[in-house]
């Protein structure tokens, strides 16, 4: 992408910001979303999201007061939609960090208009994901603090550090913390912009407190850039580690279908895949609601489609590898579990996964699909669904028929399973809509840095044009 700036032919390498926007245009445009009245679409979306979020709390309340039995979990399928949703939401979160940190380190300038929203998405997805490890336990009132190595009167001992679930606790909480910090640090200059544009004392106070006294001085910028770079460096291994560790929940067990060494890279690729799909879904919506066509350009969207194509292919390759290894290992249980996925009682889940994850992204080979908003929206939804099925297939189909045929079973979700899952959408959307409403959804300062990206930026660090 570095040669993007050098190439004079605009048609082939269009500028990152279009429509001849100026610095003040960028500030006005982005700030107006926060400052102006919420559009009707926002209210409609909230009207959907908030009741769903309330449904989540209702379902969780029912769950905690009654027991895990309100879900469809059983023996042998000890984990069902709970962990499926957990892994799915964690996966969704990956794109945020990837876009923010890794693309930042690789100097991918096109990330600037989408990184803020993607980071927010990460945070909210991690919040949704974190619900499950806690609430899927039989006694969440204990799990809430027994899973952390805190001194307490009841355990009188350390947790079991051999358990991948312990690793999960650390991985997810670290990821959540670093993502939040990264996101917040990135927000500071923009919060200051909003503070300075505030017309009411309340806004001024709140944004003032949040912007931590940002003045936009050169010294501040110097420290800020360094801090941002360091956080990006810190986040980057997390993108790989979190989902690797989540995959250990499965890979370190001895269950056929779980017990595979391919899981860490396969899970990370899948996470990026699903994360980008979710970013595309949300960005196309945000672009439509707020008219951000000049900031979130077709170039951004097309790049994301390419990432989906690439990671989709990795995921597809992993599916194939799993089957090959199952055959090559000559392990009877391993062979059976994979054939059972494709041809057993859950065949429909397996082939849904293949259709959504392997076949759907193939359309992105064609520029026509990569540049069509409806096409990419629909395909991204398919990928979201497919990636959910992937986790369901891994979890439920491996569990439902393991070693002893006497103990084979089947998993069917209950309305509480479904309600909880829909509820997390509600929570996610509510948080995301609130974010759109009250915080700059696009990094103003960073976009300004790439406003004249047709002119080469030799040192590569985003040029900063002050906050006003």
């Amino acid at each position: 992408m570095a040669d993007l700036a050098i190439d004079p032919r605009m048609e082939l390498n269009p500028p990152l910001v279009q429509g001849g926007m100026t610095y003040s245009d960028v500030t006005d445009k982005i700030s107006s979303i926060v400052e102006g009245k919420a559009p009707k679409q926002w209210w409609i979306a909230m009207a959907v999201a908030v009741p769903l979020a309330l449904l989540l709390f209702a379902c969780l309340g029912y769950l905690v007061t009654t027991g895990i039995g309100v879900w469809g979990n059983n023996s042998p399928v000890g984990w069902g939609w709970d962990i499926t949703n957990f892994v799915w939401w964690i996966g969704i979160g990956h794109a945020g960090t990837l876009i923010s940190a890794i693309l930042f380190l690789f100097r991918q300038k096109w990330r600037t208009s989408i990184n803020r929203a993607a980071e927010a998405m990460t945070l909210f997805a991690v919040a949704c994901a974190a619900i499950y490890p806690l609430f899927h336990t039989g006694r969440p009132w204990r799990a809430a603090y027994w899973l952390f190595p805190l001194p307490n009167e009841l355990l009188h001992m350390w947790q079991n550090f051999r358990s991948p679930l312990m690793w999960d606790v650390f991985a997810v909480s670290t990821y959540g913390t670093v993502s939040a910090l990264f996101w917040y640090v990135g927000l500071i200059p923009d919060l200051a912009t909003l503070r300075d544009r505030s017309t009411t004392p309340i806004r001024k106070t709140i944004y003032g407190l949040l912007s931590l006294g940002w003045r936009g001085s050169a010294t501040q910028w110097r420290h800020y850039e360094l801090a941002y770079l360091l956080l990006a460096g810190l986040s980057t291994p997390l993108v790989l580690s979190v989902h690797s560790i989540v995959s250990f929940d499965f890979a370190t067990s001895l269950l056929p279908g779980w017990h595979t060494t391919i899981f860490p890279p396969y899970f990370v690729a899948g996470a990026v895949f699903s994360g980008f799909a979710m970013v595309v879904t949300l960005m196309t919506l945000a672009r439509w609601i707020y008219g951000l066509e000049n900031l979130i350009t077709m170039k951004h969207l097309e790049n994301m489609c390419k990432v989906m194509l690439a990671t989709g292919m990795i995921v597809g390759f992993a599916y194939g590898t799993e089957f090959f290894i199952a055959w090559y290992s000559a392990n009877q249980y391993e062979r059976f579990i994979f054939l059972n996925r494709a041809f057993g009682p859950y065949w429909w889940a397996y082939w849904s996964m293949i259709a959504c994850n392997v076949i759907a992204p193939q359309f992105f080979w064609f520029k026509k699909f990569r540049t069509s908003i409806p096409a990419m929206f629909i395909l991204s939804i398919f990928i979201n669904i497919g990636m959910w099925f992937e986790r369901f297939v891994i979890i439920a189909t491996s569990l439902h028929r393991d070693f002893l045929p006497s103990s084979w079973g089947y998993f069917s979700p209950t309305w509480v399973d479904i309600g909880t899952y829909l509820g997390t959408f509600g929570l996610f959307l509510t948080l995301f809509l609130l974010f759109l409403r009250f915080l700059p959804a696009i990094a103003i300062s960073e976009v300004k840095g790439v406003l004249h990206q047709q002119v080469s930026a030799p040192h590569g660090v985003p040029a900063h044009g002050g906050s006003h």
Binding site: G72, P76, G78, R335, L404, P405, S407, W408
Partner: protein
């Protein structure tokens, strides 16, 4: 004052002595003073006559205080092995007793915790339990605390009392005269005391009749003996002596014997290490029973074909010398089967045995007696005694009762035990007939019969009441109460005493006086001995010389036995869940799956895959089955290995008047069971189009995987005798040593607990499952939750079919936590709630568990059970009395599983410590499943002691670990199933 004195003095004549002037004046003050004992101001009781009252109260108080201890001196119960002397609070006491089910008695030992019976074990001294129990006996303890028991004497639903009932009877009895209007309908009893009372009643009311009716009995065997020997005799099998056994429609390991004895005898010959040759079992049956699953060769045949097969066998064995009628040829397979079995029987004359099932008509039993005689088995593998009850034509007597009732000849009808309105043969409108007499029903629960009775009397549980029973061979036992009747119930014995007009109407007195009369001078000593041991020595019946009259038997058989009619037939079987309906309110039994179908909380019409296909039904399709103008509806369940054109129906379901557990559970099939087809008979079946949800704990999965068609090895190992010998000679295959990431525990020191389960001996009778329920406070979850896969059994019986679908073999594998040394559950628990003990037990710390269920997912044996909901919610107070105080009741959200009855290990450990820190002896610790097991298939002990039984078993060539390649190193290993097929039939 002076005037008064003067007056008094003047009124007196003669010399007058006075103490004081006051006395002289005789003032009221003086009089008061005289009456007062204590000077004014001293404390006193204000109540007049207080001292007297006080003394009275004190005397009464002492008397009442003494009363609290009255029961023991009055009705002395004695512990089997541990005295009340030196009683330690919190440690259980064990008392011997006995119970009878369908006229078959077993000796038991009941564990009582602080006066509360909590657990049933077999009495090792009793010849029919030999220390083991069956599932029903294990579950009886739950019935004791059933909150839905009959609790109150009622007169047509209005609260009454025993006193009112007794005064009613006094009046009624006076009106009855010679008793022409009196009928007593009771369940079968072997009680000698009751027999004496019956005689008294017959004397007092010569025209009355006492009818004994059992819906499940072996009356037909007695009839067969009557035909063969001229008198009703009970056959006693000595299975341990038999090298070849042919079972003709007889589930002698399961529901057709109801005691542990035949299982013990049979299993003793299925263990190749014991040096004895393995026996060989040929089973001919319609339903696939657990006896069929143990068979080396099994022939599917309808129950109505058994007669033809018995004749064919007799012909092959040439029992008569004359040519015998051929009823039906049967298929090639049948002919060959019979020929080979006959040859095998001939080759083992005197060491073989043919048994016939209780469903078979008398002629088949007689024929079998004749065959055994011809084979020289009589006196060797089968002996005969007289029955412990008066054998009678029950169905005829019941028919007579119906006629008497219809004709208005019955004025008073006593129902003593059972639930006749539910179980009596279909045909007469029993409910209407019962309304024609005054019915006094003594029933255990508020069942159909109770609801229809004028006098509703609560029956005492066998664990609450005195009584006596006789085992099949005559061995008598005293039934000793473990607790005062919880709801003031009485027994049939006590009601009979009332009817007989005895002064002594309490069970203890009745039983004691009966036996005192038998024993004479030594009564006191013998009584104590009987209570202590649980059996009365020397009460066995003498063996009877039995010589079958061949001509009579063959003539009867040839004339009575008919070729089986074509078309569908129905066969009635007792149920593993309710037996005949008596356990219908027992949740433990409902949730313990049927051994073969794995069905819970229901009964079903079992049929073969071919018949199901012909009728166009699959599992859960409701069938309408009709016979003799009567119809029932019952959902179909396909059972591989079932005979074609035969439908097996289980009795005891669809109870309309029942407690909250059993009401409306299953489908009542008794409506089809007329006297003419009491056990089996032709019927028609039709698909109705309706469906019904049947829930099983296990699908019909085999060890052959679907999709790939590969067999799963390392789960169940089976050998033929030949293969076993080869393996024993060449030693077992040792697995490659596996490398481990985690360091090894040091298992070389101290006790290292382990278990060996013998698949060759295990018959899959469910006793271990129910015993585990009782011992470990395992909750019941109900049909709906079982359908979701949430049953809580710590030990389960995995049943696998192998071979062709129509005619498979089956093998049963008990599966509880195998206590892996490298436990996959342990490493994944984030809070270390499941950890290893230094003695090799994978222990659950319920308090620490947060319920991630990761351990369940990672357990390759899927033996972990999760409390998905609060299964112990809303348990009635009385039901809580059954809980074992040594075991925690688990809350929702935690995982649980087998821990080798760690509470029993600790109990013995502390006992050994108290007895001078001696080591725990081998065999001292017995797990609940092991103790209940009638086949001795489960052995537990210290594997670090090379001399222990379990360590020796683990050295056997057929010892293997399930899923050995996973390197979990289970402490429970299995001994492979060894079959003994006849090479001629393979």
């Amino acid at each position: 004052m002076n005037e008064l004195i003067q007056l008094n003095l003047s009124s007196l004549t003669g010399r007058k002595y006075w103490r004081s002037l006051n006395q002289l004046a005789d003032t009221p003050e003086f009089r008061q003073w005289v009456e007062r004992e204590f000077p004014e101001g001293a404390s006193e009781m204000l109540d007049s006559g207080s001292r007297r009252t006080l003394l009275k109260l004190m005397a009464a108080g002492f008397g009442l205080a003494g009363l609290t201890a009255c029961r023991r001196p009055a009705e002395k119960i004695l512990p089997l092995s541990k005295g009340v002397e030196g009683y330690v609070h919190g440690r259980p006491l064990h008392y011997a007793t006995a119970v009878e089910t369908c006229g078959i008695a077993s000796g038991l030992v009941i564990e009582c915790n602080d006066g509360r019976p909590t657990k049933v074990e077999g009495n090792p001294r009793h010849p029919f339990s030999l220390g083991a129990t069956n599932a029903f006996q294990q579950a009886m303890i739950l019935d004791l605390y059933d909150p839905d028991r009959a609790r109150q004497v009622q007169k047509q639903g209005v609260k009454s009392s025993w006193a009112e009932f007794e005064s009613w009877w006094m009046e009624q009895s006076a009106k009855l005269g010679d008793g022409a209007g009196l009928r007593i309908l009771s369940s079968r009893s072997t009680s000698p005391s009751l027999e004496a009372l019956k005689a008294e009643i017959a004397k007092k009311f010569p025209q009355s009749a006492w009818i004994e009716y059992e819906p499940v009995s072996f009356d037909r065997a007695l009839e067969g003996a009557r035909l063969a020997f001229g008198r009703p005799l009970v056959p006693h099998y000595r299975l341990e002596q038999a090298d070849v056994i042919v079972s003709l429609d007889c589930d002698f390991l399961g529901l057709d014997t109801l005691s542990a004895q035949p299982v013990k005898q049979f299993a003793a010959r299925r263990k190749p290490e014991d040096g004895k040759e393995l026996n060989r079992l040929y089973a001919i049956e319609a339903n696939f029973t657990i006896t069929g699953a143990m068979a080396d060769h099994r022939l599917r045949a309808r129950s109505s074909d058994a007669g033809a097969i018995a004749l064919a066998l007799a012909r092959e064995l040439n029992v008569s010398g004359a040519e015998l009628k051929v009823l039906s040829q049967g298929g090639d397979r049948q002919q060959k089967f019979v020929a080979v079995a006959a040859k095998d029987l001939m080759a083992h004359r005197g060491r073989s045995l043919v048994v016939a099932g209780p469903r078979q008509p008398a002629e088949v039993h007689a024929l079998v007696a004749l065959i055994n005689q011809a084979l020289g088995n009589t006196g060797q593998t089968v002996v005969y005694t007289r029955p412990a009850f008066a054998a009678a034509d029950t169905l005829g007597a019941v028919q007579k009762l119906a006629e008497d009732l219809a004709a208005g000849r019955v004025n008073t009808l006593f129902v003593l035990g059972g639930n006749p309105l539910f179980t009596l043969p279909a045909g007469p409108d029993w409910a209407a007939l019962f309304r024609k007499a005054t019915v006094a029903a003594l029933t255990f629960d508020e069942n159909e019969t109770w609801k229809a009775a004028a006098w509703q009397l609560p029956e005492a549980h066998p664990f609450e009441a005195w009584g006596d029973v006789r085992a099949l061979d005559g061995t008598a036992s005293i039934q000793q109460p473990q607790i005062q009747p919880l709801h003031g119930g009485r027994t049939a014995l006590e009601i009979a005493a009332l009817i007989a007009g005895r002064a002594e109407r309490r069970g203890h007195g009745i039983v004691r006086s009966y036996w005192a009369a038998q024993w004479g001078a030594q009564a006191e000593q013998k009584w104590k001995q009987a209570l202590y041991e649980g059996v009365i020595a020397g009460t066995q019946f003498p063996l009877e010389e039995a010589k079958a009259d061949a001509a009579r038997v063959l003539a009867a058989a040839q004339s009575a036995l008919k070729p089986a009619p074509a078309g569908i037939e129905t066969v009635f079987y007792p149920s593993w869940h309710t037996l005949d309906g008596r356990f219908a309110n027992n949740a433990w039994l409902h949730e313990t799956p049927d051994p073969m179908t794995k069905l819970v909380w229901d009964n079903a019409a079992l049929l073969s895959p071919a018949t199901a296909k012909r009728l166009g039904v699959k599992d859960g399709d409701v069938l309408e089955i009709s016979s003799g103008g009567r119809q029932i509806r019952c959902p179909a369940l396909v059972l591989p290995g079932h005979a074609d054109d035969s439908i097996s129906l289980q009795l005891g379901f669809g109870r309309s008047a029942c407690g909250r557990v059993g009401r409306g559970v299953g489908h009542r099939v008794e409506g089809l069971r007329a006297a003419a087809n009491f056990w089996f008979g032709p019927a028609e079946a039709r698909k109705t189009g309706a469906t019904y949800k049947l829930v099983t704990t296990q699908e019909h999965h085999t060890l052959i995987e679907p999709i790939t068609g590969l067999k799963r090895h390392n789960i169940v190992e089976e050998f033929s005798v030949e293969q076993y010998r080869h393996r024993a000679e060449h030693g077992r295959h040792e697995p490659h040593p596996a490398t481990d990431l985690f360091p090894e525990f040091d298992y070389s020191k101290g006790y290292q607990w382990g278990m060996a389960i013998d698949l060759s001996a295990c018959i899959g009778c469910n006793a271990c499952m129910v015993a585990c329920n009782a011992e470990n406070n395992i909750p019941v979850v109900g049909k709906e939750q079982v359908s979701k896969g949430r049953e809580m059994h710590w030990i389960r019986l995995d049943r696998y079919f192998s071979g062709e679908e129509e005619d498979p073999q089956a093998v049963v594998q008990p599966m509880a936590c195998v206590q892996c040394e490298k436990a996959p559950c342990e490493s994944v628990c984030p809070v270390a709630a499941t950890v290893h003990s230094p003695e090799g037990i994978n222990e659950m710390a319920y308090n620490r568990c947060v319920g991630t269920r990761y351990c369940l997912n990672n357990c390759p044996y899927k033996v972990r059970r999760f409390n998905f909901l609060n299964w112990n919610k809303d348990i009635p107070e009385i039901r809580k009395m059954v809980f074992n105080p040594d075991v925690t009741v688990r809350m929702r959200g935690v995982m649980e599983k087998c821990n080798y009855c760690v509470q029993r290990i600790e109990e013995k450990r502390s006992q050994a410590k108290a007895e001078g820190r001696r080591p725990i002896r081998d065999g001292e610790i017995v797990t609940a499943c092991q103790q209940a097991c009638p086949a001795d298939a489960i052995v537990f002990g210290n594997i670090n002691d090379p001399e222990s039984r379990v360590a020796k078993l683990k050295q056997q060539a057929r010892d293997y670990s399930v899923l050995e390649e996973l390197n979990t190193k289970p402490r429970t290993t299995y001994l492979a199933r060894v079959r003994n097929p006849n090479p001629e039939l393979v």
